[in-house]
């Protein structure tokens, strides 16, 4: 299945910071068919560095980032459901972000781009959903930052969400999560090539961005998965170099992933999106998380993973317990996996079964309510 990224433009978007962005573009992909009743639409929300290409194969032959979950017969079965995914606001993969041209100046925004929030991302996605003519989504679903967006959707647009599936997510970033993000931002901003965000396109702050990505990668794995994958194995050598070249496999892997990242991700987007995550707090403006989630009319499926120490189980339980305290319809599973935070992308057998069963029931109930 070759998938095409599509683009749509919107006049303006009001932001939480008080500013208004004008002339925005959103990149998105769709899979499957929207049915006549328009009750089979599922919005997939990507994580930090993801993009609109969630499933299928693109023209370069690259599979989507959740191709194992989305497709005919898969967890999000495109024979039954209309599935779509958009690049987030502030991103660098087709949707307006700091690397876009500022219509007021004709130059790239850089750090003149306003600071955005998860709520702003969701508000822009709502415009896309309206553009596609979908009154109520069967489901919103995402892992990590995608899960935060899903939660925001359920609270901000309760009338437009039938089911909400936050995976390996949180209702608010913890000190540890903010700390890792800040370390990544500092690595980028301290790179001499950063130039206060006005670096030329062909000379980004590559060293800082690569280091930020290396740190990120460590947080996405687990001690166990790193031991399994790398152990103390040496890279292309029999003995230590007694120098600071690459000795260990794990060093080689992280450097490779860091360098590869520089080619596909914008440093300013890194700053803006991590800041949006750090600002995320579903309780803002409410006396409690339960009071915030009380607005939601969706059924919830919350999933966490045993070895995820970046978005640990207790954060999912905080969401689940707030929902249970208001007797909300919530399904919760902690799935067993060694893959750490990455589990929602790679360890998908059980996740598929749970998502499929939940969606099936929600679709049935949604149809019954509509009939």
């Amino acid at each position: 299945m070759i998938t095409e990224t599509q683009f749509v433009r919107f006049d303006s978007l009001e932001l939480d910071c008080g500013e208004t962005l004008t002339d925005l573009q959103v990149a998105y992909e769709t899979y499957g068919q929207l049915n006549e009743a328009r009750d089979n639409a599922i919005l997939i929300l990507h994580a930090f560095t993801g993009d609109a290409h969630a499933a299928g194969i693109d023209h370069q032959g690259k599979p989507g980032w959740w191709d194992n979950m989305i497709g005919p017969g898969k967890g999000f079965d495109t024979n039954r459901y209309f599935v779509f995914c958009a690049n987030v606001l502030g991103g660098c993969r087709g949707t307006t972000g700091p690397s876009s041209i500022d219509p007021r100046t004709g130059r790239r925004y850089g750090l003149r781009f306003p600071v955005i929030t998860i709520g702003d991302m969701v508000r822009l996605q709502k415009k896309l959903v309206d553009h596609l003519g979908i009154p109520r989504l069967l489901a919103v679903c995402g892992g990590s930052m995608g899960g935060m967006q899903a939660l925001d959707w359920a609270v901000s647009y309760p009338e437009a969400v039938e089911a909400c599936i936050p995976i390996a997510a949180t209702a608010r970033h913890s000190a540890q999560q903010i700390a890792f993000n800040e370390t990544g931002r500092q690595a980028i901003m301290m790179d001499p090539d950063f130039e206060n965000g006005d670096y030329p396109e062909d000379r980004p702050p590559a060293r800082g961005l690569a280091v930020a990505r290396m740190i990120g990668h460590i947080t996405y794995m687990s001690d166990e998965s790193m031991r399994e994958k790398f152990g103390r194995r040496l890279r292309n050598r029999e003995a230590f170099s007694f120098g600071f070249d690459i000795d260990f496999e794990v060093e080689s892997y992280l450097r490779y992933r860091g360098q590869q990242f520089v080619g596909r991700f914008d440093a300013n987007s890194y700053l803006y999106i991590t800041k949006a995550m750090d600002y995320f707090d579903l309780t803002l403006g409410y006396p409690s998380l339960a009071a915030s989630l009380e607005r939601a009319t969706a059924r919830f499926l919350v999933i966490s993973f045993t070895s995820d120490w970046l978005y640990p189980t207790y954060q999912s339980l905080e969401i689940v317990n707030a929902l249970r305290s208001r007797n909300h319809d919530v399904t919760y599973c902690e799935l067993t996996s060694n893959y750490g935070h990455d589990a929602f992308l790679v360890d998908i057998a059980e996740q598929t079964e749970v998502v499929r069963g939940f969606l099936d029931r929600c679709h049935r109930e949604f149809r019954r309510a509509g009939a």
């Binding site: 919760y332 799935l335 069963g357 029931r361």
Partner: protein, 199 residues
Amino acid sequence: MKVREVLGRGDYALISSLIPEGARVLDLGCGDGALLGWLAANKRIEGRGIEIRPDLAQRAAARGVAVYHGDLESSLAEYPEGAFDYVILSQTLQELRRPLEVLEQMLRIGRHAVVGFPNFGHWRVRLSHLFSGRAPRTRLFPHAWHSSPNIHFLTVLDFEETIAEKQWRVETRLFLSGHSQIRFAPNWRAEIAVYLLRG
């Protein structure tokens, strides 16, 4: 009186006979969600479950049951008062560390509690213990002493005494031996007891 079976189980038949159409039901220790699935399909209940074993909780979720994967003993406090019409505890009472607290929570969050347990006073259990001189092993208590999940054995008489102490109201008592519902001498003859209680 013979009891028809639900999902191959006599006690499920007794329990489901107590649950009216369209009720809000919480099943504690719901396993793979079979009973909740059956009640949803046949009585259109709005069901929730709690299950501690990850494999069973996943299977329950995969069949569309709103299951909470966690320990029922530490997770009832979150539910608001009167959240459910019926809270079911089936064959699990004797495995709990703090059974009284769980029963009290059930009657707080549910208008009714349905409690089913294996009767340790059944004559076969008594004979097994009397003649073998060992911890009883019967059809309903098949485990060796070291691997039994049962840590709080009770009989019909014990449960009646607790109900009287706590001043709970018994709405229905049902007793099962094999596939037959029995009425007389339940502490001797019942293998399984099912109580419908109100706080």
